[in-house]
């Protein structure tokens, strides 16, 4: 059974249909990639899944549950995490604080216990810290732990955002252009991590990506989007040889 389904999903901004009747299924444990020219509606689709935007038609289903009308803050708790195309980190906080915020959906403590910093709060914090340290190990962020985000180079911020998403222990991870702004070496590392995220942690990945090299290396399935509509879905090779995809990229 598909872990995630989109059925005839649409959204309009004024008279522009940014996403228009999009339907697809994602199988658990796979990397599903969306490609498409600038302005195709890829990020908008992510914002619909994160519930930052309301759909004007269609349904979104995660693990058999209709999430089309849930509030945005309940999405993380279900097991969907994301990164942002232009980074949405907490800039004036440390890497550690950012990653601990990744644990927010798993926090249980209440205000009174926190004000008194009871033993239960300390224990919970330590448990979250252990999880965060696992992610720090995985993505090699040790030396940045106590750095403020504003003092970090772009490439590192990109990794911190991935780390923050992983800290929430998602089942479905949305990555919006994970390689943009990275050099070749960093992109190679990213490909390696995406493989590991799928194979070692069994996390399903939904990714938007422009770098075809990366797309070919990691994708199990590719969807091509143009003007908010699905052109085709298939393997990376199939999609790239589709005539409409070629014209879309050549600016037809």
């Amino acid at each position: 059974m598909a872990i995630f389904q989109a059925r005839d999903v649409a959204i309009k901004f004024g008279r522009i249909s940014a996403v228009d009747g999009v339907t697809f299924d994602i199988e658990p444990g796979t990397v599903f990639t969306i490609i498409g020219p600038n302005g195709a509606g890829k990020t908008t689709l992510f914002n619909l899944i994160s519930r930052l935007y309301d759909t004007s038609a269609g349904t979104l289903t995660f693990e058999g549950r209709d999430i089309t009308n849930l509030p945005a803050h309940s999405i993380a708790g279900l097991g969907i995490a994301r990164t942002f195309q232009n980074l949405e980190l907490f800039d004036h906080a440390t890497v550690l604080q950012n990653l601990l915020l990744g644990r927010h959906a798993h926090t249980r403590s209440n205000l009174v216990a926190e004000l008194l910093f009871l033993g239960s709060v300390r224990r919970e914090e330590l448990a979250h810290r252990e999880k965060v340290e696992e992610v720090i190990d995985f993505l090699n962020l040790h030396k940045y732990r106590d750095s403020m985000i504003v003092n970090l180079p772009y490439g590192v911020r990109k990794v911190v955002e991935l780390a923050r998403a992983l800290c929430s222990e998602p089942k479905l991870l949305l990555l919006d252009e994970p390689s943009s702004g990275l050099n070749t070496e960093e992109t190679g590392e990213m490909a390696f991590w995406i493989h590991d995220i799928r194979d070692r942690y069994g996390i399903t990945v939904l990714m938007v990506e422009h770098d075809m090299g990366l797309v070919n290396r990691v994708s199990d399935k590719v969807l091509a989007l143009n003007y908010g509509r699905v052109i085709t879905i298939g393997t990376a090779a199939q999609v790239q040889s589709h005539p409409e995809v070629i014209t879309a990229y050549l600016g037809g």
Binding site: A81, E88, A105, L126, L152
Partner: protein, 356 residues
Amino acid sequence: MRFPYKTDYGQDLDLFKSSSDRFWYGLLALVLLSMPLWVDTFWLGEVSYVFILGIVGIGLMILTGYAGQVSIGHAAFLGIGAYTHAILLSMGTPFVVSLVGATALSTLIGAGVGFPALRVAGIYLAMATFAFNFLVEFVFVRWESMTGGFSGFAVASPEFLGVSFTSGGGFYYICLLSIVLAILLTLNLLRSPTGRALIALRDSETAAQALGVRLARYKTTAFAISAGLTGFAGALFAHRIGYLAPDIFTIMFSIQLLLMVVVGGMGSIHGAIFGAIFVGALPQLIAIMRDYLPDSVARQPGIEPGIFGLLLVLTILFEPRGIYGRWLKIKHYFSVFPMHKKAAFSRQKSYTKSER
């Protein structure tokens, strides 16, 4: 330069990070506890006032410095705390009960004022709190049966075993205990999930939501706690001034309170305290300065707000991290002496955001 050697994650949760911290704060505690023995009543009153301002500063820092919600209506909460406390005392309520009552009412009203913050942000929120301040001033004037209207009323000074504890040394210790408790509770909050959630909504509401932070809940919480602390400080403030009148809790005072946290240093409790010391000491400094200025300047009625405004602008231009930021730099300078690099604190270029 010293690097604390960490052996377990719990150390990052501790309030005192090193033994030198413990030493300096211990010394500070000794100085403050012994102060009534070697300081006269006037200065004891001034220091008590700094403690009261410090509590307000902490409250405002939680809201503005951590949760990123600007308020220019905090004098209203101070007033609500002061009036509630004074009215309860006049009805014969015991001191501690009345203090709790003033704090509770202020907390509730704060949560209510938090509601517009769910819809509006930035300058519009600032304007909403501004309007709130006017509204509260209006109520103080008009609800004469309770507040005594324009002419106001004197605050009762309760006694314990025949000794007044709302002036002199007794009052000093009450204020000291209060600010220590306020600091401890706040530090606990800030090292907990709620404190982090506040920072999250300050820096990116989008990301905060995507991580499961309920914006409405945390904004309301920030307003409630901030107003609660300020109302509590207001109750103490009532004793400090002894006589309540509506023209004390004005927008001008609210702006001065905001200035306190900005000049002190945004986003740190140290900043709130430094700001309180500064604002508490400023009238004295201006009084001293007046003696040296030509009469025509010194007698200008607007000189105090003028100086406040000027300092605010200078801080924003030259030291956005406030007095605390400057203090950190000085500390760093000495800890690495003579290896100081000029560039140690200049930031890497921030990457501009164009869209999400």
